[in-house]
């Protein structure tokens, strides 16, 4: 079952394939690479803004958590994966899904709960899954993804020897998630069993409104790998190149040595915890700091300084992204709802004997239930 496709993950979203092989370190002056990062980051930004808008318009329901501010981490990390690698992530995963290669149309359709959604409308924003891209799910239970991700790495090591061709698992979580038991149990298991998995903490300084300092006895979270002799490293999640380089190196080591790693990417959350959170608990000062760390203007500035980007390009890239995102929203709008007749078709992968498939209020038995029955 484990795919052997070892081609480098292509940047798909801006509609443009990235053909740089993800085998060596990126280069500060690699214009194409940096520009493709920028384009994808801008695309994800606009995707999230559209999601927010569609939520306000009630096209999207439930909870909806955005990657706003996290785009550099998303793009740098996803570019460093290979298609065959398995990704387990959280409810804050639209960007990751896109970065791993899912069709943005189908991601948006999932947010709309439509039949063409990546999870066929069953998952919604928090539960994106795409078997084709090996996106093994967004998970809404804090820490819930970590044990299955660890087990996926077990399956890899069960079937593959360490090698440059071995798939790995990338398991993403938030800072607050490092305080839950599943984190501890899983990292320990990965260490003892020497599993090819890279745990990535996206440290956005906050759980919902609770700061890392208030929640974690050791707030330098990458140090928590030490409890399992897992190497930990902290990186600047605002810089896509640093994220890309570190991930590339770390993923390579996990692939070739079959052992776990822990990466902590520091990355500010620009808005509330979810679309509906006005984030009143944040001071104006804090909001300002977050905005100063917005990776898109930062990269824009850098690229402009390097002469890779002009005001005109910026506008063009933004326009292209908006256009593409609009297409995704239109696709989602037009996609049909899942068929109500299929309500019971996903409970089990094969329907078992005596499966109970009755709608609310239906009697337990109907006139045909006892056709064969004994007289009294």
């Amino acid at each position: 079952m484990v795919s052997r496709n070892t081609t480098a993950k292509a940047g798909r979203v801006a509609g443009k394939a990235n053909d740089s092989k993800n085998v060596g370190s990126g280069n500060q002056n690699d214009k194409d690479l940096l520009l493709s990062f920028y384009e994808e980051m801008v695309f994800i930004r606009h995707f999230e803004l559209k999601a927010s808008e569609m939520y306000q318009k009630a096209r999207i329901g439930g909870y909806c958590h955005l990657n706003l501010g996290e785009e550099a981490t998303v793009v740098g990390m996803m570019r460093a994966t290979q298609t065959q690698d398995y990704l387990f992530t959280t409810y804050r995963e639209h960007g990751y899904a896109i970065g791993k290669g899912s069709d943005p149309n189908r991601v948006m359709a999932e947010l709309f709960g439509k039949a063409d959604g990546v999870s066929r409308g069953w998952g919604g924003s928090m539960h994106l899954f795409d078997s084709e891209t090996h996106l093994m799910g967004g998970y809404g239970i804090v820490g819930g993804q970590i044990p299955p991700a660890t087990g996926a790495a077990l399956a890899i090591s069960y079937k593959n020897d360490p090698s440059p061709d071995s798939p790995i698992v990338v398991c993403i979580m938030g800072d607050g998630t490092t305080n839950i038991g599943a984190f501890h149990e899983s990292l320990n298991i990965a260490a003892v069993w020497k599993l090819p998995i890279v745990y990535v903490i996206v440290n956005n300084f906050l759980g919902m409104g609770t700061s890392v300092d208030m929640a974690s006895g050791e707030p330098e979270l990458y140090k928590r790998g030490a409890s399992y002799r897992i190497d930990g490293i902290r990186i600047n999640g605002e810089d896509p190149l640093e994220v890309y380089d570190t991930c590339l190196k770390t993923f390579k080591a996990a692939r070739e040595e079959h052992r776990p790693f822990l990466i902590e990417a520091m990355s500010h959350r620009l808005k509330g915890h979810s679309v509906v959170d006005p984030a009143k608990y944040r001071s104006a000062e804090e909001v300002k700091v977050a905005e100063q760390h917005d990776p898109i203007p930062l990269l824009e500035k850098k690229l402009t300084e390097l002469g890779h980007l002009k005001a005109h390009d910026i506008a063009l890239i933004a326009a292209k992204a908006k256009e593409r995102v609009k297409e995704a929203a239109d696709f989602a709008e037009q996609s049909p709802n899942p068929d109500i007749g299929q309500l019971f078709s996903n409970v089990y992968s094969k329907k078992p004997a005596n499966d109970f498939c009755r709608l609310p209020g239906e009697p337990l038995f109907d006139e045909h239930s006892f056709d064969t029955v004994t007289e009294r």
């Binding site: 804090v142 609770t210 309500l343």
Partner: protein, 330 residues
């Protein structure tokens, strides 16, 4: 009497009790700075300070268990678990510890703990965030489970739960937070373990609890226009279960329907039906019917989700079916 939301009532009742008893403290995720995921605790950190309103790490097992230990030493913690779905990570502490400590240690310790947590589907939160798994707790001797369906009961039962010397799971519901009702202004305390006849009637008994009670009452009021007199029993407490009130009602009406938001098989309604058939066997004119959720992990898609949940139309239909099957004449 004041008209208030269920949310506001919970908030006010917590504040009122905390003002009276310094041993009460609140423990939970995001209840302080964030003011509560569903804003029940808004403003309480400001009023009572961080000693009594304790934001926790995301560690339901750890902080629920910590509340147990604090209770064993005489504090009266009120824990908020953000939704009942997340209580699954704290289950060992609730079931193997809170519920057992009094008995297992020969009565030497007790655990005056309240765990507030909302259940509820219908919010498009997907399979792992839409469950009504109160039956897990209701099954456990040593726990009490209460489930107010309206603001007044929320006040009366929350006070009772806080005053109780044993662990109480206080079940709220996402769909009830915004609902309004009259709330007694005085120090209103209900007795845990007693059901409430929310509406009396003579033709059929509908048994329910929590949010489903609002559906039962809505249907009962509608059917009154058709000259059908529905008695609505609001269980209020799932453990202890007030079997007697249920059975007495059915002995009177001879017909019963349960409406519940959880899954049918092994759900709360199973016990209600089992109880009625034993206690009112000679009085029943038709089988007890259950209106419950379809047995699927709750889908995100709105039309799918709606199809999986019980509602007023369905309840009304089932009531009519039972009446028709028993030669009911209007």
């Amino acid at each position: 009497m004041t008209i208030k939301t269920y949310r506001q009532t919970l908030h006010d009742t917590l504040a009122e009790e905390m003002r009276k008893d310094p041993d009460i403290l609140l423990i939970g995720e995001e209840i302080g700075h964030f003011e509560g995921s569903y804003k029940i605790t808004a403003g309480l950190l400001a009023e009572f300070g961080p000693k009594r309103v304790k934001d926790t790490p995301i560690a339901e097992e750890g902080f629920t268990g910590a509340a147990i230990g604090a209770a064993m030493l005489g504090l009266k913690p009120v824990v908020e678990i953000m939704t009942i779905n997340f209580s699954l990570v704290a289950m060992d502490q609730i079931i193997n510890h809170a519920a057992k400590i009094h008995a297992m240690f020969g009565g030497q310790a007790n655990v005056p703990l309240v765990i507030r947590t909302p259940g509820g589907g219908g919010q498009q939160l997907g399979a792992s965030h839409s469950q009504n798994i109160e039956v897990f707790y209701a099954h456990i001797p040593g726990l009490k489970v209460v489930c107010p369906s309206n603001p007044a009961d929320a006040k009366g039962l929350l006070k009772a739960a806080i005053h109780d010397t044993d662990p109480v799971l206080f079940l709220e519901n996402l769909g009830l937070y915004g609902t309004k009702g009259e709330v007694p202004d005085e120090d209103y305390v209900l007795e845990i373990g007693k059901a409430n006849i929310a509406k009396s009637g003579t033709d059929i008994t509908v048994i329910s609890y929590s949010k489903a009670t609002t559906v039962a009452l809505e249907v009962a009021n509608e059917l009154a226009h058709e000259q059908i007199s529905v008695e609505v029993i609001d269980l209020r407490s799932l453990r202890p279960l007030d079997r007697k009130t249920v059975v007495e009602s059915v002995r009177k009406t001879s017909r019963a329907v349960v409406i519940e938001d959880d899954w049918l098989t092994y759900g709360i309604g199973a016990e209600i039906a089992a109880t009625i058939q034993e206690g009112a066997f000679d009085y029943l004119d038709a089988p007890v019917r259950r209106v419950a959720a379809a047995e699927v992990p709750v889908p995100y898609s709105k039309p799918l989700e709606l199809a999986s949940l019980p509602d007023a139309v369905t309840l009304s239909k089932v009531i009519h079916q039972v009446l028709d099957a028993t030669a009911f004449n209007r």
